[in-house]
Symmetry: C2
Subunit: 695 residues, 2 copies
């Protein structure tokens, strides 16, 4: 855990929101004045519209349109699940890479989607009017029903709208300070066009993850198709500038940062530090160990665990660094000081103080309940004790079938939000997608889940006694996985179509399990929502009002996987006593290679080496403010050209969840130079190059 200049700076920064290029701004409240002040330039509304409609939200990442025929550029790790889906014992597309030389060879990704944000509408007034005067719990329920109802109306209206039909989603900005309706155009048919070998896409693997200098060709190319089965027409695409950017260039990142916690209260940060992160990390570390060891048992096992393990290790690295940040007393002291300052400003305004009460105390109280309700919520409702946790699939299918069957019989606004009419098509797509299910992996995951639920909830917890009265975690996992038919998409489809009658009649052991724990799981959720979520939401809205009063919208809202734009420049940083330059070159890749994974250069790059320009720029760093979810985002210059493909940050960027450090926090991108050099000389992807407008 490195400390140094970071925290001295923090103490200065925290006093007033000053960003120096930090800030994940919405397109509707983009800070033109700030951009002009800091960089002496501006972007036009047309520029913003074009960038917004060329930016794509994938299910797990960001991407952008790079040709008029729906061609999509994103990261390799964003398309990895699709490659995994199409892999088999005989053909491992993650390892071998993939190139469709003609469009009929492009591979459909079973669960991927591409959403483009077409319109944003402020619905704060409607949401607040609906909850006015209600208790925290009643307001929490009513707010959700209102969101469902507004989404339903929006999708109804959006069927014939320009750019429609729309998928409508309510968005909460500033922890409840604003509500918006975001209207997306959705492409549900997304196909794989090109991916390099994982060895070059993720050269350095987990050891180099969140490090810079780097040499990763972390790219894949997808294509959006329309409902007619033809490539989507996307005239609003962004073209890639093959030369890439220069040091010091002004650059923008358009994308969907997943989540930040910069506006959380100290009490909420303490819950992260004391309850949530350590417990999650301990579970994940053990699962990592089980998967690694399983992967050593055969080449096929190694293939099966590759993608889950990459995902898991990435999150472990992130959360470990988040815990380090929160364990640093200086960060917490700075957050306490910041909070005290805001509270003092509220106290100095008697009218505001009276209207707000003490929302900080309400949140602190909710944290105490969270600590008590956390175990049943995580293990039973979230299903971490039942195999629902990543990378398990089977219990999730069973839970979805059982829950959806019950929820679909209710009026739309009375359902759990994830089963509203607006959400159902996506639920069904994920449920019935023909993705592979590996029984060995499911057993490992389920046995692990059951064993740890017994550890954390104790062997005498009623649900543990119920499940393990005559079984060990291993024997029960084997019975369930060997006995279920839910790995067959056709079986899932039949149960989905059959609704409550089919699900209630099913004797599939996983359906039986999901039914048998449903009442207890729903009860754990209800307690959690009423006693943690409801008072937290009510209090957070009050704090948001206080912040608006003091700061207006001069600070951006926390990230929540909705579209944001931020700006910065291409630059390295000063790491202790040495300067890290902003670009790496191809030659260094070969120096760093050890011949062994994850530092192995794939065969194609070894044999092509004589033909390659060793000066080609490979990866680059900028001071854009991005976090997970921004993976695959286009790095854009002032002319609106793509000059990089974001795929990571440096190690300091992880603490970006809590604050942006302009001295150390750096984003990392693939340089277009290596993209074109690779496509041309290593992959000889002439059709793709031609579609990208290159010779």
């Amino acid at each position: 855990m490195r400390r140094s200049p970071l925290f001295a700076l923090l103490l200065i920064l925290i006093a007033a929101p000053a960003f120096s290029d930090g800030g994940m701004w919405t397109f509707q409240e983009f800070p033109h004045a700030l951009l002009k002040r800091e960089h002496g330039t501006d972007v036009s509304p047309a520029w913003l519209d074009r960038v917004r409609t060329a930016t794509i939200r994938l299910s797990n990442c960001t991407a952008s349109f790079v040709s008029r025929d729906g061609l999509i550029l994103t990261n390799h790790h964003c398309g990895a699940a699709c490659l995994d889906e199409h892999s088999s014992k005989e053909h491992n597309l993650l390892a071998e890479g993939f190139l469709a030389r003609t469009r009929d060879k492009e591979l459909k990704c079973g669960t991927q989607i591409a959403d483009v944000l077409m319109q944003m509408e402020d619905i704060t007034a409607q949401v607040n009017a609906a909850t006015q005067g209600l208790s925290d719990q009643a307001a929490n329920d009513k707010r959700k029903a209102t969101m469902t109802q507004l989404e339903q109306q929006c999708e109804q209206d959006g069927k014939k709208a320009k750019g429609g039909p729309f998928k409508c989603e309510t968005v909460d900005l500033y922890e409840g300070g604003q509500y918006w309706m975001y209207k997306y155009h959705r492409y549900s048919d997304v196909r794989m066009v090109f991916a390099p070998e994982r060895a070059i896409a993720a050269f350095g693997g987990d050891p180099d993850n969140f490090q810079f200098p780097r040499w990763d060709l972390d790219m894949s190319v997808l294509r959006a198709y329309g409902p007619d089965g033809k490539p989507a027409a996307t005239p609003n695409f962004l073209s890639i500038n093959p030369a890439g950017p220069q040091a010091g260039d002004l650059v923008f990142v358009s994308g969907h940062p997943g989540s930040t916690s910069r506006l959380l209260t100290v009490a909420e940060l303490e819950t992260q530090r004391d309850i949530i992160l350590p417990r999650w990390l301990l579970r994940a570390a053990e699962l990592r160990g089980r998967l690694i060891q399983f992967g050593k048992s055969s080449p096929e096992a190694a293939r099966i665990v590759e993608d889950p393990l990459n995902t898991l290790e990435n999150v472990i690295k992130v959360r470990r660094k988040l815990l380090d940040a929160l364990l640093d007393e200086r960060l917490m002291q700075a957050k306490r000081k910041d909070e005290a300052a805001l509270r003092a400003q509220v106290a100095a305004d008697p009218q505001l103080a009276q209207a707000l009460g003490d929302p900080w105390a309400s949140i602190a109280k909710a944290q105490q309940r969270e600590e008590q309700l956390y175990l049943p919520y995580v293990w039973i409702e979230q299903g971490a004790g039942l195999g629902a946790g990543y990378p398990g699939k089977l219990f999730g299918y069973a839970r979805t079938l059982v829950r959806a069957a019950a929820e679909r019989t209710k009026p739309n606004t009375e359902r759990l939000r994830e089963y509203s009419d607006a959400a159902l098509p996506r639920v069904e797509q994920r449920l019935v997608a023909p993705v592979p299910v590996y029984p060995e992996l499911e057993k490992i995951n389920l046995s692990f889940s059951l064993e740890r639920m017994r550890e954390w909830m104790g062997p005498d917890a009623p649900i543990v006694r119920q499940l393990l009265s005559h079984d060990s975690p291993d024997t029960l996992a084997a019975k369930l996985v060997d006995g279920t038919q839910l790995s067959d998409p056709a079986v899932r489809k039949r149960l989905w179509d059959g609704g409550a009658a089919a699900v209630d009649a099913s004797t599939d052991p996983l359906i039986v399990l999901a039914r048998s724990v449903d009442a207890e799981a729903r009860a754990a959720r209800k307690s959690y929502e009423d006693e943690v979520e409801a008072p937290e939401t009510a209090a957070a809205e009050k704090i948001a009002r206080a912040r608006f009063k003091v700061f207006g919208t001069s600070e951006p809202p926390d990230a929540n996987f909705t579209l944001r734009l931020n700006f910065g420049t291409v630059q390295g940083w000063q790491e202790g006593d040495h300067a890290v330059p902003p670009f790496t070159q191809l030659a260094q890749l070969y120096t760093r290679a050890t011949g062994q994974d994850p530092f192995r250069v794939p065969e194609a790059w070894l044999s092509a080496k004589p033909a390659l320009n060793m000066e080609t720029r490979f990866n680059l760093s900028t001071n854009n403010d991005i976090v997970g979810g921004n993976s695959g985002s286009p790095l854009i210059n002032a002319k609106g050209e793509i000059v990089g493909l974001m795929f990571d940050g440096n190690i300091h960027s992880i603490a970006g969840d809590y604050w942006f450090d302009p001295q150390l926090n750096r984003a990392v991108a693939v340089d277009p130079q290596i993209i074109f050099e690779g496509l041309r000389k290593v992959y000889k992807a002439s059709e793709l190059l031609s579609e990208l407008g290159s010779k």
Copy 2:
């Protein structure tokens, strides 16, 4: 994480050291007055001498003599390594249990010893005189040299002393407030006589570990032999009272509590919370996952990992709960308050204040250095990155051979302390013992170590580049383990006997590795000792002086695996809204069983069931203040009879590392009733029963 009454109490308790039966007292400063005040009785000097010389320190536990022929009673888990040593694919003594019906069938434990504390001599004046006026670093080195020299003298003198020869060990009490020379009689030949099946010894396994009520026959019986190969004569044994104790009885525990941290400063506790515990836990959790998954690969793999996994899971549970305790802000606030109070008392005494300076600040400063030096110290010097961590054996052998060869050429007082003349016989015993080495387990451990060192130190750390320039952790681990001959005890013996010449000439790949990292490892150690240990020790001595001035020896020193005696009574406790009674009965074992490990009753106990008295008391709880290291300790009544065999504590006892909570902290013992019922009716161990004085 349960909070409740514990912390309210803490706030009261911390103000002044009040113990209510807590306290791990030395025999030389046993608080007779306190015992009399609280229990209206006392124990005589003769009682103390008898108990002390009947109490045994094993290498990992406590035990006691229970017959005049050297018979030793301890826990099953204290003898597990010995059972593991004698197990094979064909015979798993951990699973099957073991009974030597005649003495010639008793099994020699390769690395076990039995030490009995014969004399204690106060050497504070000598140690302090030697370090008087030196800088912290010079004092740290000089102190160690002085200890080595005093031990050498003590062993020389002890050769012909009554009760000798002596093994002499310097003991530091009150964090440097007192130094003592403890003189032990050592039995180096210890053999296994009896152990039940692990399924009954550790019924409930990891899920029930640190829980009560319990049903564990956690016992084994060993025997000490003299250098003549005959059973040791131990007329000072303690007899077991087959009836066990009654609720409310005054009871004593004599044993070797391993370590407590009750006198640490707040800065040191924060280091535990922020640096040491989370990092250790993350490593251990992953290793646990790897071992569990390996164990599923075959019955033989399951056997191989059984003992390492039990050990690892026990420590994980302990440290997880320790982290929970430290993460609770109320505990830390109480510790801060306690520290502030002591500092205020120092400040109020100008002469003392001037003499002490600010040792708390020195310790805080040393913590900052510790954070920086921690990674190389742990990964390289402690060898966590080289496979030296539990359960690896091979790198440890190589390190010992390389270090000992170099150290043995130096004068005794100039060596690393672990290679002093007094220490060498034990080093050699452990090195050359014919214990099994499992290549698969070594590879798992070594690959894991290398991979995590690369993660934590980074792929560009020089030692990582050196080791993994052309290898992955897996390929390097395979080369080293397949290439070494150190799993052969005869090879180790030859290298040991051959000294520096043989070790320097060796081309064994593990010896080569140990040599190649030795300079860097020693440098990491030196920095750590000079910049962390030296100022910490100097400052801790000053704080100890302050505590003596304020509290005298009315509070006991922190535990450090030296002999202690404490008293309490047989009692349960109030857990939330229900009372936990102090005894369990045999009948409940059969109710709790699920038929699956770890809740499986072994066959012998199922077939003997009709003959057994279901009312037999099984386990019991007391409010004695014990921690790990006390495992195997005798529970003794006022008459000096054994009335229980300590093997665990309840879940609240884990926080006993930081403080003793009289309301909730309970120790857990095996009741003599179940010991005799089992020996008589299940194991039909008539010879053993007769030696224990029973029919």
